[in-house]
Every structure is written in C-alpha cells, then in structure tokens.
Symmetry: C2
C-alpha cells in the first residue's frame, strides 16, 4: 500500500510541477525592476522540499481537485513561505548567511533588496490566490484568499515570529512552545492542506476538520523534527547553518524535553495525525506518505 | 460649487470614519502577540491625512458605492500604505526616525518588531479586502483583491521602492522620475480610487479609464508636491524629517527641474487631472476637491 518508490515518484512529479508553476508565476528576470525580480527568483526557485505544495496536492486528492488548481494554491503558500525565510534570515532577525545550501538573499544581493523581495513575494502570493480560477465558486475562492491572509498575518505566521522573538533567551514550557509553533510554522502548513482541499469539490465540515487536525499535528511534528535536526545534523545535510538555535538561545523541543524525548514526541504526533485520516481510507494515501516523509526524513 | 468649508467637513467626516474602521480592523492591543499588535496600531492609527481612503470614498461616489464598503476598501489600501512607511523607515532603507510627528516604528519599538509589523499589516490588508462583502459580485471582489496585490507588488509599490533604491546618487531624467513614482506611490493611489469605484455599480470601461487617468495624474502631482515640500517646509510642518532627499542624494523633481518649475509642473498635472473628470459633471465634485487638496495643500 505505501510503496516508498511510488511515493518518491509522486513527490518528484509534484516538485517538478510546482517548480514549473513557480517559474511561470515569478516575473521574468529581464522585466524591470530587474534586480528585484532576479532576487525574488533567487529566493524562491531551485530549492526546498516543497512540503507545503505537496500537502496541497495530497489534500486536493481527497476532494478530486484539479491538480493545476492545487498547484497554484500550493504555489501561493510556497511563495509566502519563501518570503518568510528571506525576512527571517535578515540581520535584524536570525542574521543567517546560509539557506538551502546557498548564501541567503541579503548576502547574495543586499539588505534593502531582501526586504523588498519579501514584501513583493507576499503581494505575489495574494495575486496568485486571487488571479487564477482555483475554485468554481468565486465566493469560496475569496474565503481561500482570506484563509491565506489570516494564516500569514499577526494571528498566524508573522505573529508566531513575534512570539519567537520574545522567547529568545527564555525557557518555555512545552505548551508555550506549541503555541509558538502552531503560529510560526503551523498556520501556513494548515493553510496549504486546507487550500488544496478547497480547490476540489466541497467536503463535509467533519472531513474538513479531520484534514485541519492532520495538518496541525504534522505541522507541529515538522517543527519538532526541525529542532532535532538542528542538533543532530550537519550544516551540509541541512543546507542551512546547524546549531543556530542553541547558539541564539532559542527555546526548542530539544531544550524543553531533551533529544530522545523530542524524537519520541515527533513519532507520537505522526501517529496521532495518521488517526485523523482513518475515515478517508485509501483516498488519504498521499497524506499518510507525506506525514512519514516529514517526520521520518532524516533520522 | 467648490465651497472649501464643505470639503473640509466632508474630508473630516471621511477621516473619522476611516479611523473608526481601522480601529476595528486592527487586532486589539491585548490580543497575543500583544507587542506586535500594539506596534501595528501605533503604525496605523492616529496619523496621516488618509488621502487614499478619501480617494476611495470620492471615487465611490461616482458609482453610488455604499460608503461602508468604500471605507473598507480604502482601509485596506491605507494599511498597505502604512506597512510601506514602516519598512521604508527601517535602518536598511531610509533610516528615518520621525514619521507623522512621532518616532518611527522601529525607534518606538525595535527593528525586528517593525519588520514584522510591516509583514503582518500587508497580510491584514489582504484579509480586509477578501473578508468583508465589498461588492455584490464575488468574482469582481476577487478582481479587487488582485488589483491591490498587483499595485503593492514588484510591478507596483515594492518595485517602485526598488527603482528608488537603485536611483540614489544618480541623476534621473524627468521621464525616469515619472517611471519611479508611477510605481512607488502612484500604484497604490490608483488602486485606492479604482477600488472605491468598484465597490459600487459597474461603470463603463471609458469611465473606469477616466478615473484611472485622474488617479495616475494626481498620484504624480502628489509626489511632485512632496518633493517641493521636502525643500520648502520645515520638519515640524511635515511631521517627518525635512531635507532628507537632498541629504540622501535622492533624485527629486526639484533636483531634476528646479523648485519653481516643479511647482508649475504640479499645477499642470492638477489641471490635466481635472480634465479627465469632465464627463462626470457634478458627480466628481469630491474628486476635484481632493485634487485641489492634494496639490494646493501647503504652498
């Protein structure tokens, strides 16, 4: 049932598709202002596992979504994600120089350009989610755009960043950590799954809630795994600077519960996420495989 | 016909209305993350002439738009404008300490918070433009959100900023200056007028184009006046640091054509803008008065 080769082929096809869509959505490098467009493309293209778009594809399979529509919804989320990385890496935030194995945007270009790259990418994400027909019902598509806006904003991703900033140097409890990550990374991961789902036929409120729960748990697992990898893996494996969390005094699941307990917690979250998919049967195959991919990726 | 007292009362009522709407749209300061929400409110509330929302109201009068809808559309544009000011003032951009007579956001709070304030405000603007019913036709409202996204992005405001950055220390011709400003400030001013118009009954393509032309010319005039005031007025009058343009080696209409020619150019633009409203007759009263307000405000 869960033939890993099959999943790898599916994921590779999805990654290729999303890369092609992003290539087309991003303004061409020769269009003015050229340097900004070159930097936007640098920040988005040719890197990342594209987990969020894959979640949009996989959730879209539950509602028979047209994969072209799910790709555009996933691309909008991926563009939001890319903008957040560019701004996170800025000197006034994490001050990081390496991302996806390449110099960060402000290192490769310059700081004001990186600031504008993030700003313009966020606008582009909302252009994508409103410009193309992603759903037969325009009113539902407006809800999709609103969902992305809330997930990105002060009660979603940007708010999670603010909580993260305030937490540096502090000891957080596990519930406090969860609150931070549900916002910082979880909101956008949930948006990816829910937007993919909404590209297709309407689903029941119950089914919608199951997918939301799944995405919430997987989003959290994703962060726990990230914290584990920051301790456990090398910069070369990560494609970003390893050990930064401890160095910057950031509270992590590893600092809150220790390495082996954090690994076990990721596994618990994965199993709980799987349970929320029970009612979908075979239709949720790709979501299950993605959960495995996210949690089991490196250890 | 153009009784100035009457306009002042209309503008004051519009400013009060938009302030009340912004108060409600911005997350309350006691909602977590509190500091971010406090900083967002600091950046948006209690300042500015609200020219963009007033344009949305005035254009909405041409299409019998419900003023509540025009207020929300205007608020979305004002929130985009406010975010752009917060990011422009950052140390890596204009490095300004005074805005609307108050310390800039990164001075009053801190730099990472100001970065996130801008990011979260942009998300909020797209939440506003998609969350409330601004138009009877959801498909048209999707177009409105798309219009705001394009106006904000790399081929609009953010792109104009990038052109501005690249121009520091250079001598620009008047057409080059125009290209920069049509993007940097013009795109959002046009969006304000067009979104206000779209809140009401559908208008002909010709009428839409007239309003667009008007807004484009007034947006340019607004910038020329800004350049003039940067030379001609004190910091106290401006509520921001005067003389910064020359100090930072920024090309302006004053540096390109001299002070008196720049003043005359603003007046030419105003008259040309007025002409584009001829076919609307009395319905365009407020737009005409706004044009006067924008161009004649201080000299």
């Amino acid at each position: 049932m869960t033939n890993p080769l099959d999943f790898q082929a599916w994921a590779a096809a999805g990654q290729s598709r999303i890369e092609a869509v992003l290539q087309k959505l991003l303004p061409a490098p020769e269009i003015a202002p050229q340097r900004l467009h070159q930097a936007m493309r640098y920040a988005v293209l040719g890197g990342g596992k594209r987990v969020r778009p894959l979640l949009a594809f996989a959730a879209g399979e539950l509602s028979q979504a047209d994969p072209e529509r799910a790709a555009l919804a996933g691309a909008a989320v991926e563009i939001i994600h890319a903008y957040s990385l560019v701004h996170d890496d800025l000197p006034c935030m994490d001050d990081d120089v390496l991302r996806r194995g390449k110099p960060t945007c402000h290192v490769e270009f310059d700081e004001p350009t990186a600031l504008l790259v993030g700003d313009a990418l966020q606008s582009l994400a909302f252009q994508v989610i409103t410009e193309f027909k992603l759903c037969d019902d325009a009113a539902v598509q407006l809800e999709m755009a609103k969902l992305l806006a809330i997930a990105s904003g002060s009660r979603g991703m940007a708010g999670g960043q603010a909580i993260d900033l305030a937490a540096v140097g502090k000891v957080l409890t596990v519930p406090e950590l969860e609150f931070m990550h549900v916002h910082k990374t979880g909101a956008i991961i949930r948006a990816a799954a829910l937007l993919g789902l909404k590209c297709g036929a309407p689903v029941s409120a119950g089914e919608y809630a199951y997918v939301d729960t799944f995405a919430k748990l997987i989003g959290l697992a994703f962060q726990v795994v990230d914290d584990v990898l920051d301790v456990d893996a090398s910069s070369a494996t990560l494609g970003k600077t390893a050990g930064k969390d401890a160095e910057q005094g950031k509270p992590t699941y590893v600092s809150a519960m220790g390495l082996s307990r954090a690994k076990a917690f990721a596994e618990e979250l994965r199993l709980e996420a799987m349970k929320s998919l029970d009612s979908f049967g075979e239709r949720a195959l790709r979501l299950r495989q993605l959960a495995d991919f996210i949690v089991l990726r490196k250890f």
